[in-house]
């Protein structure tokens, strides 16, 4: 009796703890941001109104709720700047994800095909850059890409160019930075999907008359799709909101929603509008993921 009760309590704690964690560190902040996005900016400390006072009593709470509105979202909706920032972010994220896939897949494939004794070393080499601060690595790219930087010096020395290329502060520099920074997030899920594959499947395909290239496209690639999707989501989502790389490597023409958010928050001190941008960004990212998961769940449902 007591044992059963204890077991139930134990189960409750085990299941409850992660929920509690999510409630405190995800749901609560999200609620605060959502509330901020529905507030109005004021020149005060804090720079938004209304401010909720828990001790205000029911009358105050009612007034507080009534003064919340969707004005900021209307502003976002009506202003071209936010639209083009959102579209540009998604475009940059899509192109970067595609580039990451093109660069990451061959690397992951090569790693998965390497001798089993070498593989841990290769994985360690992919993870190694994380030991250096992200910011320092992005700054290093400034040193490489700037007009008198390492890349231009090498190209000039090789005689491939006669004038230094201006790469820094362009869209190209942003792509280089993003692909470099996110490559491990693409390689690792791809590698784990490819490494799990049974090599006899490829032998079977060849035995049935498929050339190695055909076997690759009909067996290896479809079977690695879970890895491709995991890697793509793992890269796409944070790239949409990426701020540091476009800020340091991009030029004034690099419009990204993360940068817009930053300037609303810090330059304009418009916390409510910045929060509205954050909520809009979340919707842009979450909706496609939910749709995708629905499709996948249906596709893999066992048919009888």
């Amino acid at each position: 009796m007591g044992g059963a009760l204890r077991a139930r309590a134990g189960r409750l704690v085990v299941i409850g703890l992660p929920y509690l964690w999510l409630a405190i560190f995800f749901l609560l902040p999200f609620a605060i941001v959502l509330k901020l996005s529905m507030s109005d900016p004021v020149t005060a400390q804090p720079p938004y109104a209304p401010v909720l006072d828990w001790r205000g009593g029911p009358g105050h709470w009612r007034n507080f709720l009534l003064s919340l509105d969707f004005e900021n979202f209307e502003t976002l909706w009506g202003d071209d700047l936010y639209w083009s920032a959102a579209v540009s972010s998604v475009r940059i994220a899509l192109v970067s994800t595609l580039l990451l896939l093109l660069v990451g897949y061959p690397i992951a494939h090569g790693m998965a095909r390497a001798a089993p004794s070498v593989r841990p070393i290769l994985v360690a080499m992919v993870i190694l850059p994380f030991w250096t601060s992200f910011l320092i690595r992005v700054y290093a790219w400034i040193g490489i890409l700037k007009p008198e930087g390492l890349l231009n010096q090498v190209l000039l020395w090789l005689g491939l160019i006669s004038e230094p290329l201006s790469i820094l502060n362009t869209q190209t520099a942003v792509y280089i930075g993003i692909v470099y920074a996110y490559l491990p997030f693409m390689i690792l899920p791809l590698y784990s999907a490819l490494e799990r594959q049974d090599p006899t499947l490829l032998e079977a395909a060849q035995d049935l008359g498929a050339r190695p290239s055909k076997a690759f496209w009909t067996i290896t690639v479809p079977l690695s799709m879970p890895g491709v999707i995991a890697g793509a989501l793992l890269c796409f989502i944070p790239i949409v909101g990426e701020f540091v790389i476009p800020d340091l490597l991009g030029g004034s023409d690099t419009l990204m929603i993360g940068r817009t958010l930053w300037s609303e928050f810090f330059s304009n001190r418009d916390w409510p509008l910045a929060s509205a941008v954050a909520i809009a960004m979340l919707l842009i990212i979450v909706i496609p993921i939910v749709v995708y998961r629905e499709i996948e769940a249906q596709r893999w449902e066992p048919r009888q």
């Binding site: 395909a205 060849q206 035995d207 049935l208 498929a210 066992p302």
Partner: protein, 400 residues
């Protein structure tokens, strides 16, 4: 038509005493290997495969004929799987040649060889349903769609897979997967089907049923089957001929009956079935009937083995199968080979009872007796004194 190992054994027992006809002829009268003018479909010439310092296949020469169900039998690591991979093209020989239908296969990649393989793990494509798995090989040939569909249908019928056509491999049982793998490998109508331990993952009953299905399919299609197995019962059941391999070499290539009744070496005698080995020395003999002195029996043994040329004094081993030994309470009068001992262990297997009899010298001989009747008046009991007897024709003399 074809007999199981057990049926072969029963028949052998029935004709143990008087008949002297070679046992190899128990199967159907299909024996292209005995015809010197027959051209083999597969010819392996001095085939050698080395992996670093280890030799997996060692200077091996073998002919396999069209429509044959050929079994490579051997313990794990004997090189039988490597031999199969050499045929499929996944490995290249270090030396020697693989000739298929007159063409040397050197340098021909796996996807251009007219052979197909059924893998031990089945290697079904997990992202394709049964139909797509079977059609995969046909699509590589760029056949017209209608032709592909009709051939897939044919294979679905052959393997009784029609109700499962749209299932994915993870929705199939082990036996069903095995049939999909077979159908997929046969869909291209290969000249030779290679089967790598095809039944190893099935449970015993299903395995026995599937052995007969395989034989049936092989006879209907007339495809040459080359199967690798470590299970000697399986090899005996399905094969026209068996090649016993050890250490990368062929030890004996013969029909199941010959392998069982006339093993060339002690290795084969002990690897295929149960056998008692009695060490001894040749005392003399004439007309194929040899007298052999052994410390395990009081009187010299009389063994009929006309194939051997033996010298007096030569050390030999007398090998006799447990089912060819009779167990009696009273000393059988006039029998040629009688050994006395004490029942040490009795194993009741249902169809057989195995007696482990301890001789006075300490050695143990096994004798198995078919349980032909449900009741025995006074069964032989543990620790009873018994006499083991076997006919001169029941044993074989091994020199190697």
């Amino acid at each position: 038509m074809s007999l199981t190992l057990r049926e072969v054994r029963t028949e052998l027992n029935a004709r143990a005493q008087p008949a002297r006809s070679p046992i190899g002829a128990v199967r159907r009268s299909f024996a292209p290997w005995a015809d010197p003018s027959a051209v083999p479909l597969i010819r392996l010439e001095n085939l050698t495969k080395r992996f670093g310092a280890t030799i997996a296949v060692n200077d091996l020469t073998l002919d396999i004929f069209e429509r044959e169900f050929f079994c490579l039998l051997g313990p794990s690591g004997c090189g039988k799987s490597t031999l199969m991979r050499l045929l499929a093209g996944f490995e290249q020989p270090t030396a020697g040649r693989v000739i298929l239908a007159g063409a040397d296969l050197a340098g021909v990649p796996p996807y251009r060889r007219p052979v197909n393989m059924m893998f031990q793990s089945y290697a079904l494509f997990p992202h394709m349903n049964v139909v797509k798995n079977i059609a995969y090989g046909l699509k590589q040939e760029a056949l017209p769609r209608a032709e592909i569909e009709s051939r897939v249908q044919e294979m679905l019928e052959l393997a009784q897979l029609e109700p499962l056509a749209t299932r994915r491999p993870d929705q199939l049982s082990g036996g069903q997967r095995q049939r999909v793998a077979l159908a997929r490998s046969l869909a291209k109508r290969p000249k030779v089907l290679l089967l790598d331990e095809p039944l190893a993952a099935l449970d015993k009953k299903l395995r026995e049923e599937t052995q007969f299905e395989l034989m049936d399919i092989q006879q209907r299609l007339g495809t040459t089957f080359l199967m690798v197995t470590h299970d000697q019962d399986e090899a005996m059941t399905v094969a026209d001929r068996i090649a016993v391999m050890d250490g990368g070499r062929l030890v004996q290539v013969a029909t199941p009956g010959e392998i069982y009744e006339q093993p060339k070496t002690r290795f084969i005698a002990e690897f295929v079935g149960d056998i008692n080995i009695l060490e001894g020395r040749v005392m003399g003999g004439e007309g194929g009937l040899w007298r052999i002195e052994t410390p395990m029996a009081e009187a010299p043994l009389a063994i009929r083995d006309s194939d051997k040329a033996l010298d007096t004094g030569q050390a030999v081993a007398v090998a006799v199968r447990p089912e060819k030994i009779t167990v009696c309470r009273a000393k059988p009068a006039g029998a040629s080979n009688v050994i006395e001992g004490e029942v040490w262990d009795i194993g009741y297997l249902g169809d057989w009872t195995v007696y482990r009899v301890r001789l006075d010298g300490g050695a143990i001989l096994r004798a198995s007796v078919a349980n032909a009747s449900r009741f025995v008046e006074r069964p032989i009991d543990w620790e009873e004194r018994v006499y083991l007897a076997f006919a001169p024709e029941a044993a074989i003399i091994l020199t190697r």
